[in-house]
């Protein structure tokens, strides 16, 4: 996230490779179906059906789809907070049966605890994992630095802007050192400029630390500029209708990617798949 990205800049080919099929799979869905029991006399709702996907080591995969298509359900299944009715979810090759330390998530809400300082918030997960105070302090100080929050370590969340709070949430997520990071529209509540800056910082960090990420978003430009592949979901019951490999260099530089004319073609294709190009036919 800081200035020493030149190593990656020299070797864009390795930094933003085509998804290599041979690399190790970190997160995998096999024929996953998730239904929610209806409340009262309501019919049960099938949120997602027949979802199969793989996210490889160091890969960033985005999921886009119409609202209510079950994107967030996929995230809850990955983190082990929910269990599928059919099919399997695997992280690092082992079946996800409950919350585990391979996975960490970040939501649109920063979920910072108002009674803890920023540093204490970043240490939250480490504390639960039982790390020693010294170790926690070292790791949180490191991540606060990388997320440009060193000066705010001892501030309380209410004293920070929305963008800074989201940075702190990111630092907390990354400090857990997860194999897979789940991001559920992490920047959608931010203003456009803050959002772009945080996208850039996140993209750099993901490449630098070679993290695997599943990125849920409804921002098509964000999906194209941040990921190796984009999975497009249908309306409920959600299922993956198309996989788009983003064949662009510089995954650590979303600004450069946005400027690439090819990016627009990907966005256009996604709009077509989501039916957004036919939106003018709908009464507004």
């Amino acid at each position: 996230m800081n200035g020493n990205a030149q190593v990656i800049g020299e070797t864009p080919a390795t930094a933003c490779p085509q998804p290599e099929r041979r690399r190790e799979t970190r997160l995998e869905f096999r024929g996953v179906v998730k239904r929610f029991a209806g409340t009262g006399r309501q019919e049960p709702v099938t949120a997602v059906t027949n979802v199969s996907l793989k996210v490889g080591e160091g890969e960033v995969v985005s999921i886009i789809g119409p609202s209510g298509c079950g994107k967030s359900t996929l995230l809850n299944l990955s983190s082990g907070l929910d269990k599928p009715n059919e099919g399997e979810v695997l992280v690092d090759g082992s079946l996800v049966s409950g919350p585990n330390e391979h996975v960490a998530f970040m939501l649109q809400k920063d979920l910072l605890l108002p009674w803890r300082t920023i540093q204490q918030n970043v240490e939250f997960g480490l504390e639960i994992r039982g790390l020693s105070a010294k170790e926690r302090r070292e790791r949180s100080t490191d991540w606060l630095g990388r997320c440009h929050l060193t000066n705010f370590a001892h501030a309380y969340p209410r004293q920070l802007s929305g963008g800074m709070r989201q940075r702190a949430a990111l630092a907390r997520t990354l400090a857990m050192d997860p194999d897979v990071i789940l991001l559920d529209e992490p920047f959608s509540a931010l203003d456009a400029q803050t959002k772009m800056i945080l996208q850039r910082d996140l993209a750099m960090t993901l490449v630098e630390t070679k993290r695997t990420a599943l990125f849920i978003t409804h921002d098509l430009n964000e999906a194209v500029s941040m990921s190796d592949r984009v999975l497009v979901m249908s309306a409920r019951p959600g299922t993956i209708i198309e996989e788009i490999v983003i064949d662009l260099p510089d995954r650590d530089k979303p600004f450069a990617r946005r400027a690439d004319p090819k990016a627009n073609r990907y966005v256009a294709r996604m709009m077509e798949l989501l039916g957004l190009d036919r939106l003018d036919l709908l009464p507004v």
Partner: protein, 277 residues
Amino acid sequence: MTNATQASAIDRTAAGSGLFAWMRWDYVLTVLVAVVVLAIWEYLPGLAGIPSFILPPASMVWKEFLRALVTERLVGHVIHTGLAVLTGFALGSLLGMVMGYTLGLSRRAEFILSPYILGLQIAPKVAFAPLFVMWLGYTIYPQILVAVLIVFFPVMVNVLVAVQTVDADLINLARSCSATRSEIFWKIQFPASMPPLFSGLRVASTLAVIGVTVGELVGGNTGLGYVLVYGEGQANTPLVFVAIVLLTLVGMVAYFAVIAAERRVLHYMPKPAAQGF
């Protein structure tokens, strides 16, 4: 000209000290209100021809206070009432917290127990006072018990609602880190319940005084409630006023003690806009 520029410069640059000056002016007004009220109390009864055994003027109440301080051992009564308020408040709040957290964490416990707790709340607890005196005698215990019963409910309700309304995503965050139930409670639910708990405690601190007073009115030979009844029996209206004023002061001390604790515990919250409350 220079004066005007200076003044506006101060307004713009030193908003802090400007605010401070304004607040000081408010303090002056607050004191002024007290002076006006005391003046009315002192002179209106005489002007309106109200006899002093109905409404004694302020100076008479003050003289009675000074007399009772020595002859009626007023300090002892104040300490007695204060102690009962403190104990009743502490025990009642503790009970309210335990029940609030238990019911908040367990839907089943809430379902089973809520009708009875509601019944207990609706029953006029003051009516229990004579019963407690019959059970426990002319001691401090019935007074404490009435206070506990009154204090319990607002604390419990606030804690209960606070625990139930904690953001589910916060709990999921802790769960995703493999937190245990007790870690979720101590690291999320308990601290998240602090602001509503303190609003419950504020109410409780004033209710505790009412509970103790009722207990003392009904039975006993110590405490300000007793002084009140004693004054009434002697047709000593000024003494009744002395007791009322002292009870109010005990209540205010209790209330501001809670406020002081709240400011320490909830230091991470934005400062309340209103001063003094």
